[in-house]
Amino acid sequence: MSELTYTNKPKEFKIHPKMFVLYLSMASMVMLFSAFSSALIVKRGDTKHWINVHIPIEFLLSTIVIIFSSLTIYLAYKNIGTKKFRVFSLITIVLACLFVFLQVKGWNALSANGTPYVGNPSGTFVYFISGIHGVHYVFGIFFLILLDRLYSGREKVLEYSVYYNILQQFWHFIGLIWVYLYLFFKFIIYN
């Protein structure tokens, strides 16, 4: 096979192509959660079968944690190349794990309060939607840990920060989705 020859100068991008792909995939994720949300709104309209669910306090705590983790990942990003990066990166990982822990606690609280997973869909939806969000979140944690491991101090800081920026934006996005879901559950659907 002949050699690849790329004599053209690399193109200047306004947005890094991988970042662009992330933005596009955000549109897909928005559609996914809109589909779940509208399903829930339709369900809510069916008053005959509706059972209200008490949204446990754990979900409020996890919302606070997720907002904080957005702050810390931002600080980590801003401090790439300095010693502080590692500190903020690790704090973010800890907060992320705390979020997952609180979600699981939240599900336990739901079942304890008489809203099991298998039962009226009014309640099942809470588990299901937060679970799908959780899958996205765990995906993020994987990359959070991966990028933390790959960090090599002062070398290749520029290239590294491109990837960390992509992760950071994903993290804010998925955090925002949860904040939306929490408010949607608490004040629109289950009140």
Binding site: M1, S2, E3, L4, T5, Y6, T7, N8, K11, F13, P17, K18, F20, V21, L24, S25, A27, S28, M29, M31, L32, S34, A35, F36, S38, A39, V42, K43, D46, H49, W50, I51, Y117, V118, G119, N120, P121, S122, T124, F125, F128, I132
Partner: protein, 587 residues
């Protein structure tokens, strides 16, 4: 993007290739495999429908317990209906069509080395392959493949109850798993296509200079990226109902006289989620077809596409309206008539951009210097089919007419003509047109014409008569128990005979592809642009290299449809030719 030189092995060149051209071929061959499987299933169904009381011992040899005594069992028939629909809609006309031509044409026609992320592109193919493998496996499980219809409606598909429906067992679980992989594949592909078109166009290739196939593939990708996630949500919720006995889509179900535990769900909710993808899905299938046909018609009429911008705006309008019409598949679900009438309105509105496209195709070929290559014949056939099938859409779009017509052979005729056969015609046109580029050999034209005439005659012979069977319900296994339908016995045989003829024509086509790819007349530097086409893919050297163009990427100076402009003694001016004095630029 990794531009480093790398050694290629058999594995990286042919199997885990990241080269868009090779991935296009992988999609094409996988698509061909699935078309044969899907078409074979339709032949089996037609044998049953044409000769419902006769026995064919060879069927038992072939299918074993699914055709005991030489007659297809009803359970197997329902699996056939379901798998035929699924395979052709998703594996052939979505992945096969978009996968092949997006991969082939996007980098070539915009002047790019490859996709924005060749790796994601490779993943997209392998997720598709995996989806296919799982679907194929489901044909061999003991309780049979999924059999509740390609639309997977609950309640029947929401329970793993094989006593009610054999295919509702493992077959349906595998169906849903396979579709999940398929959705991931489509999303990976779509994201990549959009990113490539937006970011990697070569110098001078402004958006308004892009060939119409690229525009069409861009809109297709946008549709897919926005419409597949709701289908994913529906699939996941359905699988939860099946595996964990949740009640998202189930309520108050009595089985064998016993009330089941399901409480509070709604099967209609599934239909909303499904058709929110389902309707855009039909446009995901037909938009690439639009693009291919526009290109082939223009090149072979030696005339510029008529109303280039109108074509693009029409595509945009279809994408937008395509999201607002899904409930026209649900007029009979007891929806509020007022809501229904809103969907009628949007549905009829979507006929407007469709009509614009048809008008522009006809005007493009009008007084053109037509070259009736096989690709051109299939494109003309496409236009004919799209008009025939579109007209019945107008009937079905009216809820008052659709309520009696829903779930009858009239609907079967409508969507097979407008989507099934039409999209196939565009795919054939694409294969004939770009064959020299894909395989560096010319395809046999004579066999091409035979393929065309056999296919168009049998397609109309199969589907036109179905319009008269507008009282006959679809998806029935046997009509002989119903006195009224005996009227159609002969017609049914007639249709079945043509179904077999049409299948034979497709075998001929596959033979032609394989034969010509191995033994056809070779393409040389002189004949490498056999249609005298303006677009960039024909400027790449005969010896295909990863990166497409040796040296610099071509620079573009004009739109792709400068045919017979009078500014050159030839009747075509490639996009790489600078504007002449006094010549005006298009876009």
């Amino acid at each position: 993007m990794d531009h480093a030189h790398h050694e290629e092995t058999f594995l990286t060149k042919y199997i885990f290739s990241q080269d868009h051209k090779m991935i296009a071929r992988q999609f094409l061959f996988t698509g061909i495999f699935w078309s044969i499987v899907g078409a074979l299933m339709s032949v089996l169904m037609r044998i049953q429908l044409g000769w419902p009381t006769e026995t064919f011992p060879f069927l038992e040899t072939l299918l074993g317990k699914w055709a005991e005594g030489g007659r297809i069992s009803s359970e197997f028939y329902y699996s056939l209906v379901t798998m035929h629909g699924t395979i052709l809609v998703f594996f052939v006309l979505t992945a096969g069509l978009s996968g092949t031509f997006a991969n082939l044409l996007i980098p070539y026609q915009i002047g790019a080395r490859d996709m924005a992320s060749p790796f994601m592109n490779m993943l997209s193919y392998w997720f598709f392959f995996l989806a296919g493998l799982i679907m194929l496996t489901s044909l061999f499980v003991q309780t049979g493949a999924a059999s509740g219809g390609w639309t997977m409606y609950p309640p029947i598909n929401g329970m793993r109850n094989t006593a009610v429906n054999l295919g509702s067992g493992l077959g349906t679980d595998l169906w849903i798993t396979s579709m999940t992989f398929f959705i991931v594949s489509s999303l990976l592909g779509g994201l990549n296509y959009i990113a490539t078109i937006i970011n990697l166009r070569t110098k001078g290739m402004t958006m308004w200079r892009m060939p119409l196939p690229v525009w069409a593939l861009l809109f297709t990708a946008i549709l897919g990226v926005l419409a597949f996630p709701p289908l994913l949500s529906a699939a996941l919720l359905l699988e939860s109902d099946r595996l964990f006995d949740t009640s998202f889509f189930l309520s108050d179900i009595v089985l064998g006289g016993k009330l089941q535990d399901y409480k509070g769900g709604s099967p209609i909710l599934f239909q909303h989620l499904f058709w929110f993808l389902g309707h855009p899905e039909v446009y995901i299938i037909i938009l690439p077809a639009f693009g291919i046909v526009s290109e082939v018609l223009s090149v072979n009429s030696r005339k510029p596409v008529f109303g280039y911008r109108a074509m693009v705006y029409a595509l945009g309008a279809i994408v937008l309206l395509g999201f607002l019409v899904w409930a026209h598949h649900m007029y009979v679900t007891g929806m509020n008539p007022f809501v229904g009438s809103i969907f009628v309105l949007f549905t009829l509105l979507i006929a407007v951009p469709s009509a614009v496209k048809v008008f522009n195709w006809l005007t493009t070929i009008w007084k053109g210097n037509l070259r009736l290559t096989p690709a051109m014949m299939f494109s003309l056939g496409f236009v004919s089919l799209f008009i025939s099938g579109g007209l019945t859409g107008l009937f079905l779009g009216n809820s008052a007419l659709d309520i009696p017509l829903h779930d009858t052979y009239f609907v079967v005729a409508h969507f097979h003509i407008v989507m099934g056969v039409a999209a196939f015609f565009a795919m054939f046109a694409g294969v004939y047109h770009w064959f020299p580029k894909m395989f560096n050999r010319h395809i046999n034209d004579t066999l091409g014409y035979v393929h065309f005439y056999m296919t168009i005659i049998s397609a109309y012979a199969i589907f036109l008569p179905m319009h008269f069977m507008l009282s006959v319900p679809r998806r029935y296994y046997m009509y002989s128990n119903f006195q009224t339908f005996n009227l159609f016995d002969d017609l049914s045989k007639f249709i079945s005979v043509f179904a077999i003829i049409s299948f034979a024509a497709q075998i001929l086509f596959v033979v032609n592809i394989v034969y010509s790819a191995l033994k056809g007349r070779e393409v040389t530097e002189e004949t490498k642009n056999p249609w005298n086409s303006n677009t960039l893919e024909w400027t790449t050297p005969v010896e295909q290299i990863h990166g497409n163009w040796p040296g610099d990427l071509p620079e573009v100076h004009r739109w792709p449809y400068d045919y017979s402009t009078g500014f050159d003694d030839k009747d075509w001016i490639p996009q790489t030719t600078p504007l002449r004095e006094g010549e005006e630029s298009h876009g």
